[in-house]
């Protein structure tokens, strides 16, 4: 069942068109990431869905209900979206319990129900005992949890998370992210997560919506957008990438510096081949593959990125290896491409 449906949406802020002719759908229970560089319009899109800004064209529907067209149909307070802005934005004058119960309408719920829901939410986010703390007495991670609980308490049709983890340090960020995603999945929530962190997008969602200057450029499962990017630039936005000049022969073969069939003649490229660094096997012993010389090692602990100079490529080759300690700078290595050949013709 479609939970959110956006079609031909455009949004202008002042004279500048931030979002142009953008469409995408979200099914019930799906978690989607909006991934793109800053300024690409992802936060604007989120705010348009929440009803905080008015689109200039197109429609936004929640299920079959029309909530946004160029003249606003539903104001934000009637939409029932759970909005979690950057760094939480907790009400500084209210304690944790009152922040969480802030959106619970006293005409719809009894006092008892309100305190039950609040308690349930506090247990859900693992902060029992913190009811009377003020936001200023919470750590960054705790604040994000409370902001999430506040959004979940109103049983929203859709959760909108705007870079909620961006202010946290790396370790806490990973922990909290998997906790929050686990929670959303358990509750079966439909959610949109805005992020500019490519790993965050891949690891936490069912769908990755890639945005560039106000448009959706690719939309698919994390595997699809990572494995089958539609262009070299898009490939770079989901992970490290190696772009090599390549030549497509009339017999359908693709020749590039790491191809088994030999090397294309330098200067006769017709396009590019896009390779992920982990798709290159590096060996220091077996002479199976293209010979090169190891010129640089970026050591990350669990793995390393090797930079290798090969005879037939102006671009040094980057390859990711686990167990990096067996390599020394300057040694001779052999490279073998073991992944799919993604060829893109030159435009």
């Amino acid at each position: 069942m479609t939970s959110l449906s956006i079609s031909h949406l455009s949004v202008k802020l002042g004279e500048r068109e931030i979002i142009s002719d953008l469409s995408f759908d979200l099914r019930q229970g799906e978690i989607a990431s909006l991934l793109g560089p800053s300024g690409c319009g992802k936060t604007t899109l989120l705010r348009a869905i929440a009803g905080l800004i008015q689109p200039t064209g197109g429609t936004i529907r929640f299920g079959s209900q029309l909530v946004g067209v160029s003249s606003v149909v539903l104001p934000p307070n009637k939409r029932g979206t759970g909005y979690v802005p950057q760094q939480g934005a907790l009400f500084p004058h209210l304690n944790v319990a009152k922040n969480i119960s802030f959106g619970l309408d006293r005409e719809l719920y009894t006092k008892k129900q309100i305190s039950e829901i609040t308690e349930e939410m506090i247990n859900l986010i693992g902060l029992p005992g913190f009811e009377n703390r003020l936001p200023s007495q919470l750590s960054g991670g705790q604040q994000t949890r409370v902001a999430l609980a506040r959004a979940l308490a109103i049983k929203p049709k859709l959760i909108l998370l705007d870079e909620p983890f961006s202010a946290l340090d790396a370790v806490l960020r990973d922990e909290l992210r998997s906790e929050v995603v686990g929670l959303l999945r358990k509750l079966g929530s439909t959610a949109i997560l805005v992020t500019h962190d490519r790993e965050e997008a891949l690891v936490s969602s069912d769908r990755v919506v890639l945005m560039r200057s106000g448009r959706v450029v690719q939309d698919g499962t994390p595997e699809e957008v990572y494995e089958a990017p539609i262009s070299p630039e898009i490939a770079a936005s989901t992970g490290d990438v190696l772009v090599l000049g390549a030549q497509k022969l009339t017999d359908g073969q693709t020749r590039y510096p790491l191809s088994l069939s030999g090397i294309a003649e330098v200067g006769s490229d017709t396009g590019y081949v896009v390779i992920r660094p982990e798709e290159i096997q590096v060996s220091s012993t077996s002479a199976d593959g293209v010979e090169g010389s190891l010129i640089h090692i970026d050591y990350y602990g669990h793995d390393a990125m090797l930079t290798v100079e090969v005879l037939n490529s102006r671009t040094p080759i980057k390859a990711r290896v686990v167990g990096p300690t067996q390599f020394v700078l300057g040694q001779k290595v052999y490279l073998k491409h073991i992944g799919p050949v993604r060829y893109f013709a030159r435009q």
């Binding site: 929440a50 307070n77 802030f102 959106g103 936001p135």
Partner: protein
């Protein structure tokens, strides 16, 4: 949301327009009254030697006081902030405390010591003493906001300490120095008590003389308009001179770590300057007031004292409240971002800042009889206070409201709150401490106001200010002392609250900004 704003803001704009029209009334009355005079008379009045002399004297006084403030006030603030001195916080409070002492009380305490005190230099001296806290406060707040990381970066880039001060610190506090100069300059232009006691005929004294002696309200209005234009030109001049605003990103938690310059000679010099100012502006006035009071404690009946204090507090409180209510639509407009209408409203408010008390008093008195039951009531006086101090009120109200982050309002909207729900449950609870602080500031200023109070108070009502004035004017310093002491003590309470618990205030700011 945007569309909703447009519809909602129509009502707001109407309210703002209503406020602007209301506060322009005194000025309009003044022009109507001045137009009683023929064009020839007006030209003759404005070009006669006497008027030119008075104008020149007023401007001379303005320039001297502003210059003293810019140099000495900034230097004191810098010393308080960057030089290693004992108890910097207490010293800061002692330099702000003179805010509680009105200029006419300063004058009379010094006249009690030197009865022959008079003339333009004496006036410049007294007015510099009374206006210095405005400059020190404005510049100090600015110093506090400077990211000390910038200072460290500048030092690491090879700048000497004096070069850091002139190239990194001063450019960032320039606007505050300009604002302090504006406040002290307007104070000089509108001061009536000090110059009058010291026999210096400035424009305000001239207006009062024309009004009282000849009952020539037309002529008084013409000079009133002249004074208004002088002040308005000064305000516009400052708004051009101060230059562009830039956002300084205040660092949090860094302020405490500012390393003060520990140079014994500089420390001693700084302490001496501050101590001298404290001696002249705090110790001497208090000593005179207390000793005069103790010389004859029973000279004023307690009931007179009490009723004057009650009148002062109630009419100043009413004025501060009216100013706050009038400031709300203007402040709300300011929080909605820039627009042509907001710019016009801002200009009108800026110009209303230039209305001296004597001008507003004169305007409302001139038309008093047409105001029906309002005339000779405390409401008219409270309204005069509201007009006089609206600019202050708008500034503090909008500062308080803009501290509430727009994100919080948006979150509240997505959680189902209507506009009024957001205002009641989010904006006002968060802004409340700062709103209260703004009301307190206006209240403090209104309590000390003299010229409009003299002209507009209902018959038979005495405030502390008018009692001090009537006794001091005839050199009965002993009788004036209890009133002055009481006024200064009441006024000192808000002054303390405004300065000492900076920590508590910045805590609120921090809490809000931290979101």
């Amino acid at each position: 949301m945007k569309r909703e704003n447009k519809l909602g803001s129509f009502g707001l704009r109407a309210l703002v327009a209503g406020v602007l029209i209301t506060i322009s009334q005194p000025l309009i009355y003044l022009f109507i009254r001045a137009s009683d005079k023929s064009g020839q008379d007006i030209v003759a009045l404005l070009t006669r030697q006497k008027t030119l002399d008075v104008l020149a004297l007023t401007l001379l006084l303005l320039v001297i006081v502003v210059l003293v403030n810019v140099f000495l006030g900034t230097a004191i603030a810098a010393g308080l902030h960057y030089v290693k001195i004992p108890y910097p916080r207490i010293l800061l409070v002692s330099t702000i405390l003179p805010l509680a002492i009105p200029s006419y009380v300063f004058t009379y305490t010094w006249m009690a010591i030197f009865p022959a005190l008079e003339g333009v230099w004496a006036a410049a001296y007294i007015l510099s003493l009374s206006t210095m806290p405005y400059m020190i406060l404005a510049v100090s707040i600015s110093f506090q906001r400077i990211d000390s990381g910038l200072i460290e970066v500048a030092r690491s880039l090879g700048l000497s300490k004096p070069a850091v001060f002139t190239r990194v610190i001063l450019p960032q506090v320039r606007r505050s120095i300009s604002a302090g100069a504006l406040l002290s300059g307007l104070y000089v232009l509108s001061d009536f008590g000090a110059v009058s006691l010291l026999n210096v005929e400035t424009l305000t004294v001239s207006i009062q003389n024309l009004f009282k002696s000849s009952y020539d309200r037309g002529a008084a209005s013409v000079i009133g308009i002249l004074l208004f234009f002088a002040a308005a030109i000064f305000v516009l001049f400052e708004s051009i001179l101060k230059g562009k605003d830039f956002e300084s990103r205040g660092a949090e938690g860094f302020q405490e770590r500012i390393r003060r310059i520990s140079n014994p000679a500089l420390s001693v010099f700084t302490i001496l300057i501050i101590a001298l100012y404290g001696l002249l502006a705090v110790v001497v006035p208090f000593y005179v007031l207390i000793s005069r009071y103790l010389q004859n404690p029973g000279v004023v009946a307690f009931s007179d004292l009490f009723s004057a204090a009650l009148s002062t507090v109630s009419v100043a409180g009413l004025g501060a409240f009216i100013a706050f209510i009038l400031s709300l639509p203007l402040a709300l407009l300011a929080t909605q971002g820039p627009s042509a209408f907001a710019a016009i409203a801002g200009k009108v408010i800026l110009i209303s800042h230039a209305l001296p008390g004597v001008v507003v008093g004169l305007a409302l008195v001139s038309f008093g009889s047409r105001l029906g039951p309002l005339y000779q009531s405390v409401f008219l006086l409270a309204f005069a206070y509201a007009v006089l101090f609206l600019a202050k009120s708008v500034a503090s109200t909008s500062a308080a409201l803009t501290l509430v982050s727009p994100q919080l309002k948006e979150v509240a909207a997505t959680l189902g709150k209507s506009k009024s729900g957001i205002a009641m449950q989010v904006v006002f609870p968060i802004a409340l401490p700062n709103l209260a602080l703004g009301v307190l500031l206006v209240f403090l200023t209104a309590m000390k106001e003299l010229p409009a109070t003299l002209m507009l108070r209902p018959t038979g009502m005495d405030t502390l200010a008018t009692e001090i004035w009537s006794f001091a004017a005839i050199s009965r310093f002993n009788e004036a002392a209890p009133y002055a002491l009481l006024l200064v003590i009441i006024a000192a309470i808000p002054t303390f609250i405004l300065t000492i618990p900076r920590a508590a205030k910045s805590d609120i700011e921090k809490k809000v900004r931290y979101l």
